[in-house]
Chain length 417, copies 2
Amino acid sequence: MNYTAEIICVGTELLLGNTVNTDARDISEALSELGINVYFHTVVGDNPQRLKSAVEIAKTRADIIITTGGLGPTYDDLTKQTLADCFGKKLVFHEKEARRIRDFFRRLDNMAMTENNLAQAYFPEGSIIFENSIGTAPGCAFDSGGKHVIMLPGPPGECKAMLRSGAIPYLKKLSDSEILSHNINIFGLGESAVEDMLRPLMISLENPTLAPYAKTGEVSLRLTAKAKNRDEAEELMKPVLEKVKDILGDYIYDVDSAGLENTVLRLMQERNLTLSAAESCTGGLLSKRITDIPGASNVFLGSIVSYSNPVKTGLLGVPAALIAERGAVSSETAVAMAEGARELLNTDLAVGITGVAGPGPDEQGNNAGTVFVALSGEKDTCFRSLKLGTDRNRVRIMAVHHAFDMIRRYLTGLSVI
Amino acid sequence: MNYTAEIICVGTELLLGNTVNTDARDISEALSELGINVYFHTVVGDNPQRLKSAVEIAKTRADIIITTGGLGPTYDDLTKQTLADCFGKKLVFHEKEARRIRDFFRRLDNMAMTENNLAQAYFPEGSIIFENSIGTAPGCAFDSGGKHVIMLPGPPGECKAMLRSGAIPYLKKLSDSEILSHNINIFGLGESAVEDMLRPLMISLENPTLAPYAKTGEVSLRLTAKAKNRDEAEELMKPVLEKVKDILGDYIYDVDSAGLENTVLRLMQERNLTLSAAESCTGGLLSKRITDIPGASNVFLGSIVSYSNPVKTGLLGVPAALIAERGAVSSETAVAMAEGARELLNTDLAVGITGVAGPGPDEQGNNAGTVFVALSGEKDTCFRSLKLGTDRNRVRIMAVHHAFDMIRRYLTGLSVI
């Protein structure tokens, strides 16, 4: 059977924009892995009438309703009461859970238990109880008239832990199929170009499915298959992955990579090579991105953020005459920066980035988005000359992506420019 | 009139759990500042039937419907078509927008425009168009039968920018009162400590209201007043702002600052001072953060990312003996790094940061989160010794925040340590 689930997150703080709804993301991710369709998320405040109306709507369009939030001890925690009402059930007291809650407070010897905490020991009749390994509020699940209801706590850590320990095992018993996904990582093509190239394939597919997602300057394709087990799912995806590789060629930089910097770091680690950088307009972003990854230090030795010309000439050895003649924003300066960094920091490869991040043009009249990225290796130095628009944030991210793309192409024997 | 809004986010990637719904948070936050009630968020996939059903439900319970996503060029981008259908409107072609889209691609000379991009130039009849300053897809707003519909793009950066430039001004015109807010920026106190100190004041207030918000390592208080006009709103807030300043003292680093780096940059610009940095565990994050701001180059001259010891000794002149004796992760090394950067880059102030970003301990057995931050000025160098937990991302952000906090305290004559 193909189940459909709806996630209802209860919490006024979500409607006020105080917190972002990571619970819905975490639950959706888990459901998608289980092969359960999610067609709607609903967020509603700590208001029993509106929660009730959301549940009534969900009952008409989902087999499984998963709620988060409103399980705590305070007067506005009304999820269990409301869901019980919607399904015509009573709340019953669980002595075992009451004991657990009392024990929880006993262990925190600086905290006295107020009586309202025992509200957390009441559950709709016939519920399976999910223990809360982090906080006091247990969750639960029940079924009624062919619908399954699961209630999880709102705090993201508690929700995620109970999802793993309680909800997923409960749901696995309902489902008989496995869903598996791969992310195909692409650089150098926009989302619409990717779709244009793949539309006939995408339309022809039913299982697996193929869908593009865009982040700033990157596109990924998610390939998802549903089968009896993991091996069969992989078998279904294999020929499609090959077809996508045939069509997109070396625009694909990896599969299941967390980002270009991760692929670059892995390629360099495999080859035992070191990297440094000289960054002007990106101001440290490339360094930051690669050092976001634990263990980057065996590859990335350091960088010079040369946000002023004296740093370019004094430290990186870019000739002042070259800057005077060609400009600080020029391919020649980018090349000299990369070569200077490679020598100064004594690495196998070095990147040089200079340009105008924007939003306005620079004092020399170079437009925002004019960027030169150079890569210096043992044998030679090459560069890309780019126009990256006028959004400062995007210009900087794209410049860094181009630098990483040049490195991965260099390391895998592809044309770099 | 008291308006009620519902946010409908369109995107299968949200239902699959690939992305977290920051758009709903950003929009909710803005609506709450405008005094518009939000009772529901709905998330729906790229499916016109289900989107239609979500819109029909929203029509029964909200005056304002704000959608995100599905405005792009691809065949599954159906938000405008669906909303037009729900309100009995046709889509009409806007030549001006088509021109803008063509221009966008012309400026990116390495990207060809595919014809499907022109779908983005169609809007429900009678729409006001919102320009997209970052991507290609414009947004729009229309009203019909007393309901207001606003459509924003899905990518969070584009959504947020258009919220500010298009949606908020549109919504402000619906309201006859003026809502004004100030953000009180705090560093060095947690959210619960702030709430504890201010609870009596917060509870006593009705207009203006005061509410705390936490980001990683920073807290802000939002002070919001509703009045006939801006001057009256300001008058209402003034005494409360003074009271908050009395209670929190120099934990308040600014009012209405976009972040510590913005306050630091402004203070340095006012004093005509220059800054450089030597970054180890933060790997360029401090440099990245300050150069995120346009115009940082008159203050921030550059930095050395010393992600390996040879860069610390060779470039920054940290004595090898000092590293051998005290360790690369020590207050002495942080001080030597700051002093080295200040000399090498010839700036008035310089920061040195060394530590263990985590998640694990370093090879010398220093725990994750052990960080030393030094600030070197004309007369002396001082440092903070920090324990920042084990979350790599948080450790790095907090280290940078401490560096900025030291600078703002130094510049405003407060104790730095």
